[in-house]
């Protein structure tokens, strides 16, 4: 099976200029620095990483909302970077985006119905009547009411707005939806609803997601495969189960260890990463993570580790991925069996109460 989206060596470098009249280039911000991945049909690939590691830039590059400095993007076999005009518009119909901030991603002057219908108008789908019907259908699909179409975005809560944003993205029946931290601006209870909605829609409509997130709990729930980014490059990529159970890169380990767990016995055994992310204007030589890596050796400062297969379906960019000492931590979930049982009991009780009322 060919992948739906295939990205190879993707890079975005921003020149840094100085001077008022004669601008000199004084450096380059390497926001995304040679990223390769692919998204299969019906699959969710999650891109995770700290703030500023280039996740969102990668997402926008994949949609060609910004022009890449290097690399290729193939969507369903077509090279997106070389397509122009009408063909690009046709491609845009098949890939849509859901944004992080539901308050900024809807035009305050358009009614919800107009906002959802707009992509259909742009692509000349249907007539006024059929578009209206479709808007009603989409609103119900995302759990809103048909009459909400005549309202304005400011009349909705953050979670509802995000649903509207999802409905807008789905209006043209895309194959790929890029989700740029779709739930990180929502509070936790609403996050669950939106994430479940997105999973449900994926199952019903066969969508592929490129899911950008920094919240690993959400990623664990959503993703099929996970790619971990650091300073504009992918450090580790693999299936969710493998990556969470057995992280092969020190950075992934640090990220997973940083998830708070309600487990007092972990106290003292987790050493958080020290220091800050280096500036993307001065990416460290060799392994870009060596400045913060607890296992760094001389080789890491000189030789760039390539992303290589370290286990079936799992790639890591670390020279010593096989010989990393076992941290002795359970990354897969922090709850004791007793606590898990108790939570399940609560859950069942809540459901019974919901049915009764």
């Amino acid at each position: 099976m060919t992948p739906l989206l295939e990205v190879a060596g993707l890079a975005k470098h921003y020149p840094v200029k100085q001077g008022v009249i004669r601008q000199r280039e004084v450096g380059t911000v390497r926001a995304v620095d040679g990223v390769s991945f692919s998204v299969m049909r019906g699959e969710t690939l999650a891109l995770v990483g700290e703030s500023g590691c280039g996740k969102s830039t990668t997402a926008r590059l994949a949609l060609r909302l910004i022009e890449p400095s290097a690399g290729s993007i193939r969507f369903d076999g077509q090279d997106v970077t070389k397509v122009t005009g009408g063909a690009m518009r046709a491609l845009r119909r098949r890939m849509q985006i859901v944004f992080q901030d539901p308050y900024a991603s809807l035009n305050p002057r358009l009614t919800v119905g107009d906002a959802i219908a707009e992509p259909m108008v742009v692509h000349g789908i249907g007539n006024d009547r059929s578009r209206q019907d479709r808007v009603q259908e989409l609103l119900e699909l995302v759990g809103l009411r048909p009459f909400h179409a005549t309202r304005y975005p400011h009349e909705f809560s953050g979670g509802q707005r995000q649903r509207i944003g999802i409905a807008r993205a789905l209006a043209v029946e895309p194959d790929l939806v890029v989700c740029d931290e779709p739930v990180s601006a929502l509070d936790v209870s609403i996050q669950a609803q939106v994430v479940n909605l997105m999973k449900d829609l994926q199952a019903r409509l066969g969508l592929s997601y490129l899911f950008i997130a920094h919240d690993l709990a959400v990623v664990k729930h959503m993703a099929d495969r996970v790619a971990v980014m650091y300073l504009g490059a992918i450090m580790e990529m693999g299936s969710k189960a493998e990556l969470f159970a057995n992280p092969r890169h020190p950075y992934t380990r640090a990220l997973l260890a940083a998830i708070p767990h309600p487990d007092p016995s972990r106290r003292g055994r987790v050493t958080p990463l020290g220091g800050d992310v280096p500036s993307p204007m001065a990416v460290p030589a060799g392994c870009r993570f060596h400045t913060r890596c607890p296992f760094a050796q001389a080789r890491c400062r000189e030789e760039v580790p390539l992303l290589r297969e370290v286990a079936p379906g799992q790639q890591a960019a670390c020279h010593f991925s096989e010989s990393l000492p076992d941290a002795g931590l359970d990354y897969s979930g922090g709850l004791t069996p007793a606590a898990t049982t108790r939570l399940a009991l609560y859950d069942r009780a809540r459901q019974r109460a919901g049915v009764g009322s």
Binding site: R60, L63, L65, M88, R89, A90, L91, R92, R93, M95, Q96, I97, F99, Q100, D101, A104, S105, L106, N107, P108, R109, L110, T111, E118, P119, V122, H123, V142, G143, L144, R145, F147, T150, R151, Y152, H154, G159, Q160, R163, G165, R168, V172, A192, Q193, N196, L197, K199, D200, A203, Q351, G354
Partner: protein, 296 residues
């Protein structure tokens, strides 16, 4: 997936009667000050349009016998000017010209300025060039434009309108560019781009409507300024030429008789005041009424 199917019901409890927010006009009229301003503006426009019908006499009929007649003189409700022309007639016809100057220069200058501003914000390549050009325009006072254009076309209303339009262009361009730059950075612009829409649609449907508020505020403020500037140009002899009635020119004429017959200057000034005030209030109210976020 039980959680997904129960979730929507939790978010949207059944709402029995979807209530639609009232329309723009209704919201405008609901505010007493706005309603009064709207009424006044309509009356003023009607008075200006119907001047030839409403005016009791011909605007150029002079009767030196009743020169400087005070308001209340039989047959001359608001008195007469220094040439003995009926003030009511003069005010009605003056209002007409003043109106044309104000509206035409704000519309023309505002339109061109908005185009320049949008272009600068949208096509960043030409931004520097366009805005430096606007800076050059901004460095000339409106009066100077008036002088130059009067020299080219001869003094008169077209020269005044053109001069005031040109003086309005850079101001509007700056305001629109600033507003548009803020809007262009919003996610919904990127979302619109992601749907594959063209520049024209993006600009008209997404950028421009969200820049309306500052444009409205500026246009209504500018309307008042332009009327005063137009009056100043008339006062300098570059605008309305006697015996044409124009409120600014009438005020200028009346200033010679301020101590003997104050009404000759005061009445046109009062009318300018009412005109500018009503349009400022109306513009303010209109801006609020057009913003869906302020709908209650």
């Amino acid at each position: 997936m039980a959680s997904a199917t129960t979730a929507p019901a939790a978010v949207t409890p059944p709402v029995p009667a979807p209530r639609r927010a009232p329309g723009t006009l209704r919201r405008l009229v609901r505010e007493p000050v706005a309603a009064a301003a709207l009424l006044l503006a309509i009356l003023l426009v009607l008075a200006a349009v119907l001047a030839p019908v409403l005016a009791p006499t011909d605007p150029f009929d002079n009767d030196l016998g009743s020169a400087m007649a005070v308001p209340g003189t039989p047959g001359l409700l608001l008195g007469a000017d220094a040439q003995g022309r009926d003030m009511i007639t003069r005010l009605l016809f003056g209002l007409r010209i003043t109106f044309i100057i104000g509206i035409a220069s704000v519309l023309l200058g505002g339109f061109v300025g908005a185009l320049v501003g949008f272009a600068a914000a949208f096509y960043r390549r030409v931004d520097g060039l366009l805005m430096r050009l606007m800076d050059v325009l901004l460095s000339f006072p409106a009066i100077l434009f008036g002088l130059a254009l009067a020299a080219i076309f001869g003094p008169g209303i077209p020269a005044v309108v053109l001069a005031l339009s040109v003086a309005t262009v850079p101001l509007m361009a700056r305001i629109v560019r600033g507003a548009a730059l803020v809007v262009m950075r919003q996610d919904y612009i990127e979302a619109a781009r992601a749907t594959g829409m063209g520049d024209a649609r993006l600009m008209l449907r997404h950028v421009a409507p969200n820049c309306l508020s500052p444009m409205f505020v500026f246009a209504t403020l500018r309307f008042g300024q332009v009327i005063l500037l137009g009056s100043a140009l008339s006062f300098l002899g570059l605008g309305a030429q006697p015996p044409m009635a124009e409120l600014g020119a009438m005020a200028a004429e009346g200033r010679n008789f301020l101590f003997f017959a104050p009404h000759i200057a005061v009445l046109p000034c009062a009318l300018i005041f009412v005109l500018v005030l009503s349009f400022n209030l109306l513009g303010d109210a209109l801006r609020d009424a057009l913003d869906p976020r302020l709908r209650v």
